[in-house]
Symmetry: C2
Subunit: 429 residues, 2 copies
């Protein structure tokens, strides 16, 4: 089956072949420093889907990502179109224009090989690993909110004329196999008996069973799924967890937008917030002594608040100055009274977007604990009972966010509930 | 400018040329009966955009519609892509599969000439003309609700898997010039000083001015516009007024879907209800003696109620039996409790769809009284003061629907408000 997906010219590159291939491209070769025989090549992919090579030469390094015709995590039994490399390239280059300096620079792209060569991000690390280690990232709020506000606002109907936006939506239509993964793994499977689900057993057996029977949760997740299916509000990254963000103390880069398509904005903002909340609630499991990570945890909650607050401030700022789309035409809100009324409406719009964000964040937490793909935030907690405690707290918070979304009027209500869940002890604890 | 829009091979057909053209196609010629020289050809287009020819032969007749590269109502100064004939053909053939017998059968389509030959609907008349004359159509509710329920449900995420639906959405992307007309003429211009606006002056001067300053209305119409721009829920007809419906006492056909695209369902349902409400409130202007059309008006309001009630019943019936899409997966609502909870959610879904319907209906009424394109329902009321009274009542109702949408919990609340507006006298009356 997988073979069917391969376009002519596609082959999986080994290290030797990759060296010869890259040597053909002067821009790439120049960046690495000449003398291809001296380049070091290492396959380092630890994600779920692709091959990732780090190539280092005398001058500099590059990262090369090649899509496989199947899901790496699962194997050839789960084919996945190579075209996702095309959509990733499309998204990366568009994001680079919208949010300069916040995504890796693309050096070379090959459609047939489903391969993209990018600048090597060094000494950046995957943010999730840093958070597991209790590191704080003072630059993160500023950068990720610039990325979110600019990529979402500037691809929405608030910024882009309708005809152009529709063409952009259509350009991502073919990425539906990646959307399908999200539809199944996030919006469906954790709430039913699905073979691929797993959780920290036996501690969470009862909780997982409750989610499978929780009809209020099923209604809530289905409403979110419908939004994911039918609200192409903006070009979203589609997989914006802390494993898709590389950081140093002073730099942030968003990587891996292969799930990109036009969808609801709250899905991306919610993904960031969900993963920060999980890092916060997993933190207790990484303590060697009680209270050791108190400062880190305080920073995490401040970061959650900062993500929403700064995102909203920047998004509103763009709306006030860059509203070149067809929605909310300024001609209907002229004069001082008009501008004041529009400002009230902007706040209403943000309140609805916050509600979406809370709901999607809940969905992202639940899938990481009850579904197929888990996080090292929890997975690296060696003691399974202790891991289950952190996961149970996260599920408790997420369930409240999913079913009682409207009871979180603002971000402070969310961090307050997170703080309260941090203290909560499940029955088995 | 207009010339730029013309693909190679396009030319505007005169009657003689049309005869030679049609004679080439055996299916068409056979339907008319041979002997092309004996066919009668008459251009009868009274719409805003196209040429329409009626061709009659010894055996039968056909209707031939050819798109012009500009808006017929305005002239060559307003170019409009010929591709709309392609989208109309796409929609017509899809609707024919979804709602058999409720659209005209297509006999022949020519992309280059932007021309479609269809069965001649006879003795059908444009429903709006019948309503102006006070005729009732006992079959209408049954047929139009079948059309609405089947074309909307069966193209939605409730019925169609996500990947397939996204391909369908993309197939209509190019029809954005027609969407743009709606975006401007319905969702923007009536609420601002636009050169093309007109209304029954001087009677409605003050009302029109109030709409231009009514910021609550501007917020409400902008929210609807955003939905129109970014909620591709289903394949909608896009222009489903009573001038796009041909009727006899026993048959109904929906014609002219050149505005078709994937948009919010409430836009189509609202269009039908808006046009029935206008026919109801225009009726007083067509009376020769007071109370003469009492029975007709009672039928109109019953029809408004029937359209929503029967639509909802059929849509829900399809949801219960034909839910093959990715939204609301049945696996999350198994067992008796699950089915009951899903049924509650279906009712909630319908309540939200009703709200959209009321809002879009309001928008459709307002544009016909304050915007560019008017209805014969009002236009054929010769006495302008009397026409203005009917229009003022309609605007009063529509303004309440637009700004106070949530105050109409069900269709009875809407017909009750319509009845009340029928009795209301504007200041100038």
């Amino acid at each position: 089956m997988a073979a069917l997906q391969q376009p002519p010219g596609y082959r999986i590159l080994g290290e030797a072949e990759l060296r010869d291939y890259l040597a053909q491209f002067p821009k790439v070769a120049a960046r690495l420093g000449d003398a291809p025989h001296s380049w070091s090549i290492e396959e380092v992919g630890d994600g779920n889907l692709n091959l990732v090579f780090i190539v280092r030469g005398a001058a500099d390094g590059i990262a090369v990502k090649q899509a496989l015709p199947y899901v790496r995590l699962v194997g050839e039994s789960w084919p996945l179109p190579l075209s996702r490399a095309h959509y990733e390239y499309l998204a990366l280059t568009h994001q680079a224009r919208l949010a300069p300096g916040l995504v890796p620079a693309v050096l070379h792209h090959d459609e047939a090989l489903a391969l993209t060569a990018m600048e090597l991000l060094t000494p950046h690390i995957i943010m999730r690993k840093g958070l597991v280690a209790g590191k704080v990232y003072p630059r993160f709020v500023e950068d990720v909110t610039t990325f979110l506000a600019r990529t979402l606002f500037l691809t929405s109907d608030l910024a882009v004329p309708a005809a152009e936006k529709k063409e952009h939506i259509a350009a991502f239509t073919g990425n539906h196999a990646l959307c399908r993964i999200t539809e199944d793994l996030i919006f469906t499977d954790p709430y039913r008996a699905a073979e691929q689900n797993r959780w920290t057993s036996p501690w969470l057996d009862a909780t997982a069973a409750r989610f499978r029977d929780d009809l209020d949760a099923h209604v809530a997740i289905s409403r979110l799924k419908l939004k994911f299916l039918s609200h192409p509000e903006a070009l979203i990254h589609g997989d914006l967890h802390t494993g898709s963000i590389m950081v140093t103390e002073s730099e942030t880069r968003v990587i891996d937008p292969e799930f990109a398509f036009y969808g609801p904005m709250g899905f991306d903002i919610g993904a960031v917030i969900a993963n920060l909340l999980m890092a916060y609630l997993a933190s207790a499991g990484h303590e060697r002594s009680a209270g050791e990570r108190h400062e880190f945890e305080a920073w995490m909650l401040g970061t959650v608040e900062g993500v929403w607050t700064e995102f909203a401030r920047k998004f509103l700022g763009l709306w006030r100055t860059e509203a070149k789309g067809d929605a909310y035409p300024v001609s209907l809100f002229s004069g001082e009274a008009g501008e004041m009324r529009l400002e009230v409406e902007r706040q209403t719009y943000m309140a609805l977007l916050f509600r979406d964000t809370v709901g999607f964040a809940a969905a992202k937490i639940i899938r990481r604990i009850l579904g197929l793909a888990h996080n090292i935030d929890f997975e690296w907690i060696e003691d399974t009972r202790s891991r289950a405690v952190c996961e149970a707290r996260s599920l408790r918070l997420a369930r409240a966010m999913l079913v009682g979304t409207a009871t979180f009027p603002d971000i402070a209500a969310l961090t307050s509930a997170a703080r309260e869940s941090r203290q909560w002890q499940p029955d088995f604890a």
